[in-house]
């Protein structure tokens, strides 16, 4: 299979083509942030391996992009010359946060050049600090104090809110987008982009980077994103939260994960098509129509009989009931007449139900059975790939 060699230009072009669901301002912002990531990357191939594919990034952005919210924002920004994300309820849009998380994650993996001169540390030695999340290493390498300066691609309108942020003491901060992105990453590892389409990757795809298995493993439990003192402006909008409390983000379902394998299975499945056998069908129609009409006519006789009996008994019951309240003054006679009226109405109800059962059950069942028998005898199933 052809392996597509991809570089920054191809990645951004493909990503820009996939982000057409976003508003133009947001799309340009997202592409600018990705372009800045490439500019800041020490090794472009390492960054490409980290980002995996434009499709994956498009899925990440689509997952975090709220079109309704952005519609309101874009409409309010139409009079402004450049997008101002600072008035997004005082916070950044989620898709910017998703890209920012990617940048921080990439910075933590050492993909970006450090801003300050630091002693050269072998890449393997970073893994020494991975397990100790509360150690000082993450604070030095992936701390937002350095990350925004190194990889901050945000527009100037919201750069001021990216103040140096203290690192979380317990665990690296992740949001639902990052968790979702890891799940999509595992799925897309088996695919590659060829001619703008997602094609399955057999055995010619290079192995994923060695850091991948060492990355954080997330379970299905909803995780907590601690709101840091300087992060109030870049946390995702959550209307039900009080300021200063923890954000609880539920992992969202991933509908895209199963679509492509299902599509492949459907293509490989052998479909069956019902084809009519013309001569038996014509013969069956010629024979079955008179027989069906005869059966319906025979069934109509008891049906009409039940109908006439039902009408008779119900009308007799109603007449007796009205007579009970009009012409009888003695209690004993009144009880006799009421009892008789109830009995007549009960029998009338039984006959009415028999009439309905003959119409809806017997006659309709006869017609349905004839059609089913015709379909069984006069049609055959042919396998079609």
């Amino acid at each position: 299979m052809e392996v597509k060699v991809i570089n920054k230009q191809k990645f951004l072009a493909e990503l820009g083509r996939l982000l057409t669901f976003m508003y133009e301002e947001d799309r340009q912002t997202a592409l600018a942030m990705y372009s800045k990531m490439f500019d800041d990357a020490v090794d472009e191939q390492a960054l490409l391996q980290f980002l995996v594919s434009p499709t994956r990034q498009a899925v990440v952005l689509a997952r975090s992009y709220d079109a309704k919210e952005r519609k309101l924002q874009v409409h309010t920004q139409t009079r402004e010359e450049e997008p101002d994300y600072s008035d997004y309820d005082g916070q950044f849009p989620p898709f910017i946060l998703a890209i920012d998380d990617l940048q921080q994650d990439a910075a933590a993996r050492g993909i970006f050049a450090p801003l300050e001169e630091q002693p050269a540390v072998d890449e393997d030695q970073f893994s020494l600090f991975d397990d100790a999340a509360s150690q000082e290493a993450p604070a030095q390498e992936s701390a937002p104090a350095s990350a925004p300066q190194v990889i901050s691609p945000a527009p100037p309108a919201y750069q001021e809110s990216e103040a140096p942020l203290p690192e979380d003491d317990n665990a690296p901060a992740k949001d639902s987008v990052s968790e979702f992105a890891d799940a999509v990453d595992a799925f897309l590892a088996d695919f590659a982009i060829a001619d703008g389409e997602l094609v399955p990757n057999r055995n010619d795809r290079p192995e994923p980077p060695a850091e991948e298995p060492d990355g954080p493993v997330f379970d299905d439990q909803p995780f907590q994103l601690d709101k840091l003192p300087g992060q109030e402006n870049i946390s995702p909008p959550e209307p039900s939260l009080d300021g200063g409390e923890q954000l609880s983000l539920e992992p969202a379902p991933m509908p895209e994960e199963d679509e492509l394998p299902q599509a492949e299975e459907e293509e490989e499945q052998i479909a069956t098509v019902r084809k009519a056998r013309v001569f038996p069908l014509i013969l069956y129609i010629i024979v079955s129509i008179p027989i069906t009409l005869l059966g319906v006519a025979l069934l109509l006789i008891p049906t009409l009989l039940w109908l006439s009996l039902a009408v008779t008994f119900v009308s007799a019951g109603v007449l007796v009931l009205t007579a009970a309240f009009a012409g009888f003054t003695i209690f004993a006679d009144l009880m006799i007449i009421l009892g008789l009226a109830v009995i007549l109405l009960a029998i009338g109800l039984l006959f009415t139900w028999l009439f309905i059962w003959f119409i809806g059950g017997a006659i309709a069942g006869l017609i349905r059975g004839v059609c089913h028998l015709g379909g069984k005898w006069c049609y055959k199933e042919v396998a079609v790939r």
């Binding site: 209690f331 109830v342 109800l349």
Partner: protein, 65 residues
């Protein structure tokens, strides 16, 4: 249809029992069937319709048999 049968039969059974109870109570409290029939005949002319039906039936029997 099966549940319809059950419901209808249940309603009919309850109505029949209720009617039987009413007739029993009326019979035990001194109801007179001749008086009841006379009242119904005065109101709906039941005897006249009954005689008309029996005459038509007898005529049909003599013509067809």
């Amino acid at each position: 249809m099966k549940s319809g049968w059950k419901i209808i039969l249940l309603v009919v059974l309850i109505a029949l029992m209720l009617g039987a109870v009413c007739i029993g109570v009326g019979a035990m409290t001194g109801a007179d069937f001749t008086r009841i029939w006379a009242t119904l005949d005065d109101r709906y002319h039941v005897d006249m319709y009954w005689q008309y039906i029996t005459e038509v039936w007898a005529l049909l029997q003599t013509e067809l048999m």
